[in-house]
């Protein structure tokens, strides 16, 4: 029974993912994006077939087996674009660190002011970290992995939909600064957006995504108790 449920969970998730790939190709939109659509569809199907979250745990374990290797592989874009980083070391690192801390402090302060629980505050503090790192980091800072992923994905969408307009308004025109901002704050989705703006923006965003993940991983557990 347990095994059957696990296989069912795996089958549903994989099938919904395959569907989402087709949908997002035909009608590209944040709502047909693989994460959004697959999650929603999987939750719906599981709920309708009365499968509980605890029955899905084993399936999750198996499905996320490659998450670690996928994160390790992020070293490749970082390595390929390393010269771009070394050529702009001071502005890039200073901007990234200021932005990563700025967004974390703002998120935590607002969430606390609005009276959210500790778990939600912790989860929202790491919403700018790329999802595969954020779910791991969630375990370290006592955040909820599911909430964290949701916040990460919404942050990615916000960056894509609002980012370019906001950067225009703020007078940020340098491709380096724009790419850095999109990659630091809106991780993978922001990087894709930056790549649309210019090649330089895309490359610096891919670096920013990796370094922001490392920086926030180091900073969040240390900063959070003081915020």
């Amino acid at each position: 029974m347990k095994l059957a449920l696990t296989l069912y969970g795996i089958a549903v998730t994989t099938a919904m993912y395959a569907v989402s790939r087709r949908l997002s190709r035909r009608w590209p939109s944040p709502f047909t994006s693989p994460v959004f659509f697959t999650t929603l569809a999987t939750v719906l199907v599981l709920a309708l077939s009365r499968v509980h979250l605890s029955d899905y745990a084993q399936a999750k374990e198996i499905l996320t087996f490659l998450l670690g290797p996928a994160t390790v592989a992020l070293a490749l874009p970082l390595y390929r674009n390393r010269r771009l980083l070394t050529a702009n070391l001071v502005p890039a690192l200073a901007g990234l660190i200021a932005g990563a801390i700025g967004t974390m402090v703002t998120a935590v302060a607002l969430a606390k002011a609005l009276g959210f629980s500790r778990t939600i505050v912790a989860s929202i503090s790491i919403k700018s970290v790329t999802a595969p790192v954020a779910v791991e980091l969630a375990g370290i800072i006592q955040a909820d992995p599911a909430l964290t992923v949701a916040f990460v994905i919404v942050t990615g969408m916000v960056g894509v939909m609002l980012g370019p307009w906001l950067l225009d308004r703020a007078g940020i025109r340098s491709p380096l600064a724009r790419g850095l901002a999109l990659g630091t704050i809106s991780h993978g989705q922001g990087t894709a957006q930056a790549a649309l703006e210019s090649e330089l923006s895309g490359a610096i965003a891919s670096i920013a995504l990796g370094i922001a993940a490392v920086f926030t991983s180091l900073a969040a557990p240390r900063l959070l108790p003081y915020l």
Binding site: S24, G68, T71, R80, G102, T103, A177, A208
Partner: protein, 170 residues
């Protein structure tokens, strides 16, 4: 060939929609072949031969091993850092020191990058039990997310732009 997928690969992360062809020329600093049009579509995936499959599995095994070493290092040294991040830093070091050539992981990193969203969907499914709470507090949470993203984008952009102007760079 080496710098091939630098942008397209990451562009595929986290459910990015399709991306049209990229801008034409490449500056000296950006990885060379990044000028190719980057089309993120499952159809772009080449058909794999048996040999490719074997190599792919070996590569994935290598990445898996690095990941394990990452977790081991973190546990041994008692650093509050996710093990997979330690693994990534380890691979980055190996690439920089030339111990591992970048082409060793080309296949697997492209594949994993393309399907990265798949691996965190199962975590998001955990929202199943939190759904009600999220819906009732949705607007306030969205407000926090939008405001903090806006602050982060502006701060990052301003600092980087200001400092690169001081340096006299673009």
């Amino acid at each position: 060939m080496f710098g091939g997928k630098s942008v397209s690969e990451v562009a595929a992360l986290e459910g990015a929609a399709q991306i049209g062809s990229g801008p034409a020329s490449s500056g000296g600093l950006i990885a060379p072949a990044a000028a190719e049009p980057f089309v993120v579509s499952p159809r772009a995936a080449p058909r794999l031969s048996a040999m490719d499959c074997v190599l792919l599995i070996l590569e994935l095994g290598g990445l898996w091993a690095l990941n394990q070493v990452g977790y081991l290092l973190v546990a041994r040294m008692h650093v509050p850092l996710p093990g997979n991040v330690a693994g990534m830093l380890l691979l980055f070091t190996l690439l920089c020191t030339g111990v591992v050539p970048v082409r060793l992981f080309e296949r697997s990193s492209a594949l994993l990058g393309r399907h990265l969203p798949f691996f965190f969907v199962p975590f998001a499914v955990g929202l199943m039990d939190l759904g009600g709470q999220i819906v009732s507090q949705g607007w306030m949470l969205l407000l926090v997310l939008v405001a903090s993203a806006a602050v982060g984008l502006c701060v990052t952009g301003w600092v980087a732009q200001l400092l690169s102007r001081v340096k006299g760079q673009p």
